[in-house]
Symmetry: C2
Subunit: 299 residues, 2 copies
């Protein structure tokens, strides 16, 4: 099989991940037991997971023309993402993000986005969107995401929106443009204004043309398919680090759809990839290979 | 006057400082309103403050031979520190530190020290210690600090120890070697095992050959001089960021002693420099110039 070509679009970050015994509840000094630095961002990490699972990825995003931007691109290139289209914004500052991960899988995330990093998506080569088999788009660069999703809709392409919590209005703008809107649990409740998950899935689906699903962490993946609520459970694993588990899910899910898998099969594939990621420290650096996922699926 | 030559010795860090509305008490996402990156470490930041106040500084420390080490040295060079003696440890990882600063001046500090960053101080050019007018030493590289302080003691040089909280035994090892031991309040209580400040100063002094003092933040500087407790108050300022205020104090204090100022005068000079630093965001980047300190002292 020719590897599917996936376009990932979002906001790139350069992450410093500290493993700490516990995330403190008061201002103090905390001594981490481990530290890794790597380039991230939701769609970028999803893209890195896709590469590891055998897909081809091109990434569209902006970075500043600073040292951090250079390291971000260097690291994403190592992860195998195609970066020819990434825009280096003159005078812009790249996004720095510090993440504390504790032994219980909890995390504190501190991302700094330069308000002056040019949001204008005018440079995006939208006429190329139709060349890809599927898209994975995050919510952290809304102006860019809206353009790309609209182009994917016009070209009839699979376009998965990683619908995490975002400033007011962002999900309302982006979700109607995606073929598959995969919410985080918090974002689903906020979008649908319903505290019950199934009611929220139905309420969201009533407002959106595409498929609506929600990731539930250790409880798996749930979606609404022809008026029926369906769930695939997540494999049980020893959790070391949940950071980027959602990104890995979205990447694997998008790849599986691009390969022609049905929703249940794609959901199972993605839950398995995300669960394997959770067994390893280091955010997306712990994303599994295809053969690891298939071995666990075969069990 | 020829500017005094000060030797600063300690552990170098590369700091990412985020300004946040409030430091969270539960694991969550926090959106900073500002972010700066700069090289630090207690003695390095003290050294940068000394340069800004008109002194000459040489810095002895280790960094890894990685990208972070390169940026650390680049930034300390910009701050005017002499770095010819800094050792780049092959295969070592430089120290990364993330700091959250909230609007109330509170802070969370997360430093990651590579346990494999060669602690062996054998390379230190100890025969050069006598060429300096004074030394400022921090506690974050105990093996190096002990060697340098012993050499300074043998050469009869002023050697200020920035005696912040440290692992068990470190202050016990280093403090007897310094001519001036300037504690943080927490470290003084831990060292002297006394909750009353004056009793703690006397108890610490009974165990140490050098002068004993303590920095008290907004309450100024207190020390024991010929059996008498003395205090200089800190100027009242609008506090924006206390990060590195202690480092600036220790740098200014060391410089003033090297210039021949008496303890009260050096304490006043250092309290004023530290207070001015607190009026500006960005850690040591907010350290004042000589003329700013003298203008405030003149008021």
């Amino acid at each position: 099989m020719i590897p599917p070509r996936i376009l990932c679009v979002g906001a790139a970050t350069f992450d410093t991940v500290f493993k700490v015994p516990a995330i403190p509840s008061t201002p103090t000094k905390v001594l981490p037991t481990a530290c890794v630095q790597l380039a991230g961002g939701m769609a970028a990490s999803g893209g890195a997971a896709i590469v590891r699972l055998g897909g081809q990825v091109e990434y569209w995003a902006r970075v500043g023309d600073d040292d951090t931007g250079h390291r971000t691109l260097e690291d994403l290139a190592k992860a195998g993402l195609g970066l020819a289209r990434v825009r280096r914004v003159p005078g812009g500052r790249s996004t720095l993000c510090t993440i504390l991960v504790d032994a219980a899988g909890g995390r504190m995330v501190v991302p700094y986005y330069d308000p002056d990093l040019d949001p204008d998506p005018g440079w995006l080569p939208l006429d190329e969107v139709g060349r890809f088999d599927a898209l994975l788009v995050d919510t952290r660069w809304p102006a860019g995401a809206a353009r790309v999703l609209a182009a994917a809709q016009a070209a009839g392409r699979i376009a998965v929106l990683d619908a995490d919590i975002a400033p007011a209005g962002v999900l309302e703008q982006l979700a109607p443009l995606a073929s598959h809107v995969i919410f985080s649990e918090t974002a689903l409740h906020a979008f649908a204004k319903q505290s019950d998950i199934d009611a929220a899935l139905r309420a969201a689906s009533d407002r959106l043309p595409g498929l609506v699903g929600v990731t539930l962490g250790a409880k798996g993946f749930r979606w609404l398919e022809r008026e029926t609520i369906r769930t695939v459970p997540a494999p049980k694993v020893e959790v070391v680090d949940t950071l980027s588990a959602g990104d890995v899910f979205h990447g694997a899910f998008t790849l599986a759809l691009a390969e022609g898998q049905d929703l249940a099969s794609a959901g199972r594939f993605a839950c398995t990839a995300a669960a394997l990621k959770c067994t390893r420290f280091g955010g997306r650096a712990g994303a599994p290979t295809r053969s690891e996922v298939e071995a666990m699926l075969g069990d």
